[in-house]
């Protein structure tokens, strides 16, 4: 621990974001960096706890508490305080293959469980992580690190999202020859087409890492849909082992009247097409514009926020984000104690931008849509909403009940459904005859990852259901370890 009294002396400080009015004019990232001196002070705030929680990565009340990939947080905080950047980067890479992704998009359960957070603002772990790796790239410390020996074993990774990339990187490290299949035209999965560019820059951040992985010997095969234009059986024949990381891409629908009207889209259709346009530099047929429209985003999660941010950049006329849950408290509620994930009110970047332009946080709480209204052309014009209250049913589960008299009609020319995901798409899993769990996810035990098919492993959202990028990292690394053990009889992968 660099400075025992750091947490008493220094206040939590994050770098300023670019001002909302300026950043909604482009698609560039909006986080800035702190000066080195200021960041060292933030590192000094770490208490090097005798009993730390930031690295634990356990589920408490269903939410992650502490880092699921067990980042050695107190160690690199201390190294940053001492100014030992390269050592900090090495320590960070020990547990995290791609800190530049988690440093940008992770909700940071580490900070939620930071011991300092029990009575003060926690250490800025996520920002420190991001700065370490960004500096590493800038200094040229992140280079292709080829395995010393090849095992001659061939492994296919299906899906190039965070779980697939981690599995591929780890398997390659172990010396296996790895091929990653991706059905989209670019690798990265949700990192590429799910998360918008302003949160995670595609060319400068995602592709930079993909190029490094390619230089290390991983082959990316895009535009290839395993189970579609590439037969699943071929996969089993050509490779010694297969790691499935196809994600949980089946979106939750809202089957109410008018759902089929034009202008009602799933969030991913909207976000994917948008990112593609930015990358291709030309319009495509799938592009959905929010410009000059009254936009309704249904769903208050991260994807909803990304829809808000994207619509803001399109220049929408108005924006309402509908959330079915109540507004969270400003501070932890009594039933949500440290070190649980703090369920508190947060103003994320999208809402911040909407507030800057339209004057208020665009979210309405305890509200659900009951009907979409359209015009003669079948284009949506308005949505009907109603407030709900959460009541226990006879099984003791909380369910939303509509409150009569609270109905409202909001104008809408674009409705985006960001209500989460139900599980993996089934055709490939059917083709491979893989067992499923009751939630339609691939059946494979956590930490084991083996499916009912010998040599086929499943990890990430297709196994655990929709979750955080960092859980995908955890599972990708774990599946690589188990796959290596299967191929070689033992493994040195962590």
């Amino acid at each position: 621990m660099g400075k025992p009294t750091g947490f008493i002396e220094y206040l939590r400080e994050l770098p300023a974001d670019r001002p909302p009015a300026a950043r909604i004019a482009d698609w560039k990232e909006f986080h800035l960096h702190l000066s080195e001196a200021a960041l060292r002070k933030q590192g000094a705030r770490c208490m090097d706890c005798g009993t730390p929680f930031c690295h634990t990565g356990v589920l408490l009340s269903g939410m992650a508490s502490g880092c699921p990939i067990h980042n050695l947080i107190p160690e690199w905080n201390d190294l940053i305080y001492r100014g030992l950047w390269k050592e900090a980067l090495e320590r960070l890479h020990k547990t995290n293959n791609f800190p530049e992704f988690t440093g940008r998009v992770c909700p940071a359960p580490c900070e939620g469980s930071c011991v300092l957070g029990i009575n003060a603002p926690p250490v800025t772990i996520k920002n420190i992580e991001c700065t370490i790796i960004d500096r590493g790239w800038d200094e040229g410390w992140v280079t292709a690190d080829l395995p010393k020996q090849r095992t001659g074993k061939k492994v296919a990774v299906v899906g190039s999202g965070p779980a697939g990339l981690c599995a591929a990187a780890q398997l390659n490290k172990a010396g296996h020859t790895v091929t990653v299949f991706e059905r989209a035209d670019r690798p990265g999965g949700l990192l590429m087409y799910g998360i918008p560019n302003m949160k995670l820059d595609k060319e400068q951040v995602v592709m930079r890492r993909i190029r490094q992985l390619e230089a290390e010997g991983i082959r990316f095969v895009c535009n290839t849909n395993v189970g579609g234009n590439y037969p699943a059986e071929k996969l089993l024949k050509e490779f010694d082992a297969v790691v499935l990381a196809t994600g949980a891409t089946k979106p939750r629908d809202l089957p109410v009247e008018g759902r089929n009207l034009k202008g009602v889209h799933f969030a991913m259709e909207f976000l994917t097409a948008n990112t593609k346009i930015i990358l291709d530099g030309k319009k495509n047929g799938n592009f959905i514009s929010a410009a000059d429209k009254d936009v309704i985003v249904i769903g208050g999660g991260d994807t909803g926020t990304d829809c808000v941010g994207t619509a803001m950049r399109h220049g929408c006329k108005s924006l309402v984000q509908v959330e079915i849950l109540p507004k969270p408290p400003m501070e932890r509620a009594a039933d949500n104690p440290w070190p649980e994930w703090p369920k508190v009110y947060r103003l994320d970047y999208g809402q911040d931008e909407a507030a800057a332009k339209f004057g208020a946080d665009p979210r309405v709480y305890l509200t659900t849509a009951t009907k979409f209204e359209g015009d003669a052309n079948g284009q949506v014009t308005a949505i009907h909403t109603v407030q709900v209250k959460w009541e226990k049913n006879d099984k003791g589960q909380f369910i939303p009940k509509n409150v009569p008299g609270t109905e409202k009609i909001l104008p809408a020319q674009l409705v985006l459904l960001a209500m989460g995901f139900l599980g993996p798409e089934q055709p490939l899993l059917d083709a491979l005859k893989l067992e499923r769990d009751p939630r339609t996810n691939v059946k494979a035990e956590f930490e084991k990852y083996s499916t009912n098919l010998k040599g086929v492993f499943a990890c990430g959202d297709c196994r655990r259901g929709q979750s955080l990028v960092v859980w995908a990292f955890n599972e990708g690394r774990g599946a690589a370890r188990e796959c290596d053990r299967y191929l070689m009889g033992s493994t040195d992968l962590p």
């Binding site: 400075k3 025992p4 009294t5 947490f7 008493i8 002396e9 208490m47 706890c49 005798g50 009993t51 011991v115 300092l116 029990i118 009575n119 003060a120």
Partner: protein, 498 residues
């Protein structure tokens, strides 16, 4: 362990504590926390068995501690032979402790182990939390007792027949472990008592204080009249003066009596803890020598020791008082004409003492007071010394090699007031003890002043300077102390703060 326990039971100890390796203060180095000691179960079993075999268990409580956290832990400890149980970590956690292991750094972020008022504000504990925790412990223990058919803890003690090792532990290290010696019950006559039922006889009625001193000192204790007595002393007389001192304090309060109101002169060889805890107004003069713990916890009294008249040895080269003299003493004066054993003045927080030479580890953990050594010290002088000042007359010039300078700095005497203070103390030492050494030092004073080494704790000096500064700013009392504290608490140069 059993041997030690039997020994202390014979020596009239009331309790023997078996403290397991899992526990310990959060201030310990990680290496000690992880790698020292053994489980309490081993020590407890051996202790109980040995005490029962030697029919000593009836006279002594056996306590166990070391990460006891559940009613089951208590039940196991009772069945292995304990009737008292120590808890620390778990109750602390109920009070908000986060096991930060910074108890020694003053940076406890939840205000449990810190003097920093800013951090103490974060303390959220309440005694009720501990009470509640203990209720759970008691409830679980009662459930286990009910299952085993016990009505009282006393019935459970040493009933290892109710313990069985778990068979299904899957660990390669658990293979082949033999628990029979832990679970053995000593084969003794049924009359042998297996838990503590008989009071130890501490022989207080036979002590010198009760048999002689209280009567002699009665005029002083009752009416504040001066008393003087000459008495012989033997080393079977332990803690001489302590009960008398306690009576003085009961009657006259913390300020005691005027200096030398009670003046007792002893001739002979004093037993352990001579003059322990004696208050202001009591002077114990000893012509002869003293065992360990002389003046332990001295609380204002005065102790004078010198060799018997006619002795031929050089006082400053021969040990006249035992180890650990003036341990934890808080105030008072001491003049010892001769050499002291090891750990002289350990944890002294306010006594002014003059001694002619000392053994190893002198002034260890000292926090206050003044110690003057007119000759050689052993090694590791001033280890952990954070306050007070020591003055060592270093004629040989090798003292720095004997001094642990981790927390102290070595200086020369410069200040005239300070030199005069030392001169006066040595002069009194000479007057009280007729010390040849002191007489010689005083005679050669001018030549010897430069040979004194002032041992000054770095933290202490900084706080003294801060105090001086804030007093110049017009602060006083607690306000000044807090301001000086605030000034230093965030300083990284602080020894504790690395």
């Amino acid at each position: 362990m059993g041997t030690v326990a039997a020994g202390v039971a014979k020596a009239h100890a009331d309790v023997v504590l078996i403290s397991g390796y899992d526990g310990g203060t959060g201030a310990s180095p990680l290496s000690s926390i992880k790698h020292s000691g053994i489980p309490w179960e081993l020590g407890l079993a051996e202790t109980h068995q040995t005490l029962v075999l030697n029919n000593l268990r009836s006279r002594i409580y056996v306590e166990a501690d070391g990460q006891l956290k559940t009613g089951r832990d208590v039940a196991v400890a009772a069945l292995l032979g304990a009737e008292e149980f120590g808890f620390a970590t778990a109750p602390l956690v109920t009070l908000g402790c986060l096991m930060m292991r910074v108890c020694h750094l003053n940076t406890c972020p939840v205000g449990v182990a810190t003097q920093d008022p800013q951090l103490r504000k974060f303390f959220t504990g309440s005694p009720d939390h501990v009470v509640n925790f203990m209720r759970f412990i008691a409830t679980e223990l009662r459930e286990i007792m009910a299952k085993l058919g016990f009505r009282t803890i006393n019935e459970m003690i040493g009933r290892t027949d109710k313990l069985a090792p778990r068979k299904a532990i899957e660990h390669w290290k658990a293979k082949g472990l033999d628990f029979t010696s832990i679970l053995q019950r000593p084969d003794v006559w049924p009359e042998v008592i297996r838990y503590r039922q008989i009071d130890q006889d501490h022989g207080i009625e036979k002590s010198l204080d009760v048999t002689r001193l209280l009567d002699i000192c009665e005029p002083a204790i009752e009416r504040g009249e001066r008393v003087h007595a000459d008495l012989p002393i033997r080393n079977i007389h332990r803690v001489v003066g302590t009960i008398t001192g306690s009576e003085v304090t009961k009657k006259w309060g913390p300020n005691g009596l005027p200096e030398d109101t009670i003046h007792l002169k002893f001739t002979g060889s004093a037993g352990q803890s001579f003059g322990a805890f004696i208050p202001k107004g009591m002077t114990l003069e000893l012509e002869g020598d003293a065992n360990d713990y002389l003046g332990k916890g001295l609380s204002g009294g005065k102790i004078i020791v010198y060799p018997p008249a006619g002795s031929t040895f050089v006082a400053g080269e021969n040990i006249i008082i035992g180890n650990v003299a003036f341990y934890g003493a808080t105030s008072g004066e001491a003049f010892v004409c001769g050499m002291a054993g090891e750990r002289f003045g350990v944890r002294n927080s306010g006594v002014n003492a003059v001694v002619e030479a000392i053994g190893d580890h002198g002034c260890e953990y000292m926090t206050g007071g003044r110690v003057i050594v007119l000759g050689r010290t052993g090694r590791n002088f001033a280890a952990g010394m954070s306050g007070g000042i020591a003055y060592v007359l270093d004629e040989a010039g090798d003292f720095p090699a004997h001094c642990n300078q981790e927390m102290v700095g070595l200086e020369k005497l410069k200040d005239a007031d300070e030199i005069e203070m030392i001169w006066k103390l040595i002069q009194r030492h000479q007057a009280y003890t007729k010390s040849d050494r002191a007489a010689k030092v005083l005679a050669d004073w001018r030549q010897l002043v430069p040979k004194f080494v002032k041992v000054m704790p770095k933290d202490y000096q900084r706080v003294l300077e801060s105090m001086k500064k804030v007093k110049e700013q017009g602060l006083s009392g607690d306000e000044a102390i807090m301001a000086a504290f605030e000034e230093n608490v965030r300083d990284v140069a602080r020894v504790g703060g690395g």
